[in-house]
Structure formats: C-alpha cells, structure tokens
C-alpha cells in the first residue's frame, strides 16, 4: 500500500516543484469536412470540432481535481488546413476565413489554442499549400487562438528551399501585421523539418493524415522536479546523475500516462501518445536552463552546455519510455528562450547566443524556439536561419523547428513581453552578414545520403 513518504513526495512535486500535465490535446481529423462550397466546409469544420471537443475542457478539469494534478492547457489539433480548404478556398481571404472559423470554435469549446493551420510542403507546394502559407499573416492577425505550422523539409525528401524563402517573407509579414502586440503573431507560427503527426505542443501541433479520426495526446512537464532531484546529488558522478534523471522522468511520465488514459476513457476517444518533453514555463524554478546549471554549468550557454543537454535529453527519454505505453510527439527537452526564466537570464548575461542555441538544437527537441530578434532583420536572413535549422533536422533524422520573432520597432538590448506562458524575451543580435545569394537560388536541397554517417 502507498505510504506517507510517497504521498508527500508526489504532493511536493506538485506544490513546490511545478509538476503538471502541460497539455491534453485532442487531435481531430477534418478530412470528412472537405467541401467545394466554402460556407459548407466551414459549417462542417465547426460542427465536427464542436461535437468532438465540447467536453474536453470540463473533463480535463475533472481529472485535475480528482488526482490533484494541474492540467495547464486543454487544446485541439486538426488536420492541416491546406488539405481541408484546398477544394473551397480560392484566395488568401478564403483561407483566413477558415482560420476565423477555427478561432470561433476554439472559443466556443474553451480551449486556449487550436493548432493545424498548417501546410506540409517538404518536397513541393500545391497551389492550396501556397495560398495557405500566404494567408498566414492575415489569419494570425485576425485570430487569437489559432496556431500555424509549416513543414519545410524531411530526412526523406530534403529541404524545400522555395518554401524556406517564402517563409522568411511570411514570418516578417506576420510580425508586421501584429506589430501593435509586439509581433505576437510570430509566437504562434512555427516551421519544421521532420514534423511529427502527433505533437500535442503548440504552436506546432497538427493532426497528421496517418492518424485516427480522433485521438488524445498528452504532453507532460516537470523541469522543476528534475532540478530538485538533481540538487540532492550535487557533486556525484555521471552514473548517479543519469540514474537520478531517469527515475525522475519515469515518475513524471507516469502521471502523464495516467491522465492520458483517464481522458481517453472519459471522452471515449482513443489514447494516442504521451510526449516526454521537458517543457519549461516562465515561472521561477520551472526551467530547463536551471537543470543545466544544476548539472554544473554557471549559465546555460557555457562550454559543456551541448553535452549536458544531450545527456539530459537522452535520460529523460530512457526514463520516460518505460513509463508510457506509447510515446511520441516531440519528446525531448524544450529550450525556448522567452518561456524559460533561466534561458532569459543566460541571454541577458551574455552567456547564451543564437549560435550556441543552434548547436544545442542538434541534441534536443525542438529547435530555435521563441527567439526575439531585431525587427529590421532581413527576410533572407530569417530564411537562412530557418535553412540552417532544417539542415540539422534533415541530416540528423530528427525534428527541428524555428519559431523566431522579428519584433517590429525594437532592437538589440530591448525586451519584448508576450505575457502568460509565452513569457518575455530580450532581443538577441543576429549575424549581419548576408545569405541572399544562397536563399534566392530557388529549388530544393536533395535528401541526404543514409550511409557513410560521419
């Protein structure tokens, strides 16, 4: 039988170390909503999502209450809208109106984000894909809760450089369209290489076409729990360090598995996956950077950071995989700048640069995340940064992403405040040398060779 010590340990994780379930995300397939009549298509989408998710928030709250574990977000992901709207949408306005429908239904069912305003263009763009991409700035400016993502490359297909070039322009345009809110639109827009079909985390969640009609995916969290556990083994060798992370990750993931199974049973929707990511928040003590410091670095970004992060990421997976029957999504440590107090501090101190962040993304999920850069950063430079990150994902057969925010009207040294879970960020300097000649070539980077791996 459970003893007092175990009960106290669990409850301290929840009350003092910010253990929570970060999100229950319901994936909803919209392929059966396709119609050549735009209004009919919108009605289909609205009703399908409403019927599937009307009890999602209430069920999440009930589970949180009964088990005493906070479930921070209840969200929805849908089939990439470029596939759903292709038959009905003939203009940017048409596509943006679909985003408004998604926003309305998100408000109606009470979820805080809905993901899937997306296009998958890793090899080429259909006219519908391109229209959707060009509608992103308008869609994100007109909606509050819609998140957008674009898959630009994969290990199997290479990188679609035409789309990379276009996304440089779209990111900049999205920043312009939402400049009154410190370019907030870009915080809801992410580009991927090797995007997973079952990611529960925003802004990159969408419901892949290989998925069932409806599915429940859960994202766990718990950087604070790992940090506290590591503070008890200071000075011990790597074996002890790794074992401690593994055991902690196991415990954290078991909570996610329990919540996922309960949500699945109560909603009558199959359980998909638990995403093992360590997801930080701006709350003090809920930081991945703080874990790196606990491992022995003065600040995140100091020499040794990439190795420490690689170790952390791998042990979290090793502990988490056994704790859950199905693991998927992004599964790794997140290193967003604005959403992690320790990362913000490291940037402010000068310990952490964009280039070091790029190196760190080679060994963890997901990529350059929530990075604020000067508003006058050139479109081609943004495309260049995206291309670099896509290349890391393509060659290393992993998911990488870029969520970068050129804050219009602000420069290096200033700070941008997004609020809530999105946090705040110091604006980071960007390498000023040009990559225009590279980005403007057009075409695709071919898929990499899968042997001779050095």
């Amino acid at each position: 039988m459970i003893n007092l010590f175990e009960v106290v340990e669990t409850n301290e994780m929840i009350t003092k170390e910010n253990l929570d379930v970060r999100t229950i995300t319901m994936g909803i397939g919209l392929l059966d909503c396709i119609d050549s009549d735009l209004n009919k298509c919108k009605q289909n989408i609205y009703h399908k999502i409403y019927d599937a998710a009307k009890d999602l928030v209430r069920t999440g709250e009930e589970i949180a209450r009964e088990f005493g574990i906070p479930i921070v977000n209840k969200r929805i992901s849908v089939t990439p809208i470029s596939l759903i709207g292709g038959a009905a949408c003939k203009s940017i306005e048409d596509f943006a109106s679909l985003a408004e429908t998604l926003d309305q239904v998100a408000h109606q069912v009470g979820v805080n984000f809905i993901g899937g305003y997306s296009a998958l263009v890793s090899k080429g763009m259909t006219p519908a894909d391109e229209l959707l991409i060009r509608s992103i700035p308008l869609a994100l400016a007109r909606t509050e809760r819609v998140c957008s993502s674009v898959n630009l490359g994969s290990t199997k297909t290479g990188i679609n450089m035409d789309a990379v070039k276009l996304m440089g322009q779209i990111v900049k345009q999205t920043a312009e369209y939402t400049k009154d809110q410190d370019s907030l639109g870009c915080a809801k827009l992410v580009v991927f290489c090797n995007a997973p079909d079952d990611n529960p985390f925003m802004a990159g969640a969408f419901h892949g076409v290989t998925e069932a009609d409806k599915i429940i995916n859960v994202g766990v969290s718990g950087p604070g729990v790992v940090k506290t556990a590591l503070s008890k083994v200071r000075g011990e060798n790597f074996e002890v360090l790794c074992e401690t992370i593994k055991k902690t990750a196991f415990k954290v993931t078991r909570v996610g598995q329990l919540v996922a199974q309960e949500a699945s049973a109560r909603l009558g929707v199959p359980f998909g996956i638990v995403d093992l990511s360590l997801a930080p928040t701006p709350a003090i003590g809920d930081s991945v950077a703080d874990i790196l410091c606990e491992i022995g670095l003065e600040y995140a970004g100091a020499p040794g950071t990439t190795a420490a992060l690689a170790l952390l990421n791998d042990q979290v997976k090793k502990g988490g995989v056994m704790a859950s029957s199905y693991v998927g999504g992004l599964s790794g440590a997140f290193i967003p700048v604005s959403e992690d107090q320790g990362m913000i501090h490291a940037v402010e101190t000068g310990a952490l640069t964009l280039e070091k962040l790029e190196a760190m993304t080679c060994v963890c999920s997901v990529g350059l995340d929530m990075i604020a850069v000067p508003g006058d950063t050139k479109e081609t430079t943004i495309s260049g940064i995206i291309a670099d990150e896509m290349a890391i994902g393509m060659v290393n057969q992993k998911t990488t992403a870029v969520r970068i925010i050129p804050v219009i009207g602000k420069g290096v040294g200033e700070t941008v405040e997004f609020g809530g879970l999105l946090g705040y960020a110091p604006i980071m300097p960007v390498n000023q040398f040009s990559c225009e000649g590279f980005v403007n070539r057009g075409g695709r980077i071919p898929a990499p060779i899968h042997s001779f791996k050095n």
Binding site: I2, E6, V7, T10, E66, F67, G68, I69, V255, L258
Partner: protein, 90 residues
Amino acid sequence: MNKTIITVVGKDTVGIIAKVCTYLAQNQINILDISQTIVQGFFNMMMIVDTNGMDKHFGEMADELKLLGENIGVDIKCQKEEIFDKMHRI
C-alpha cells in the same frame, strides 16, 4: 473498492483527526489506513479511504473537506489513489 488518499497538513492542534473522522463516518467513507507524523510542529497525516459507500460526488467531498480543514487551520487534500500508485509502483 474506490480508494482515495486524504492528506492533512498544518499546525498541530487538538481534534484534527476527530473532526476529519467524524465527517468521513457521516458520509459512509471507510478508513482503510492512517499514518501520521509531526515534523517541526507540523501535523502531517495521510488516510487511505474507500469511498464506495459515499452518496456524494468526489468533488463535493473534496470541497467539504477543504472547508473543514480551513476551519481548523489545516490544509486537507483529496486525491484518487491511482496518481500515487502509478508514480511509485511499476
């Protein structure tokens, strides 16, 4: 069997267990196990109870126990057993 873990944490005072147990008895909640310690003057108790015979909803019980706790200056939490079981048992 429908097991719930009730934890009571707070400053030690006379009658904490009596008041909680009275409430449980009035609501047909059966106590399976109790353990309790006092650390630095702080009362720390865990009860494993079976709520099968209870007529109320879980949330109602949790709210009423929380209120009862506030009246005697302690924090009372109700959680279904599975969260602890999942975390600490393979």
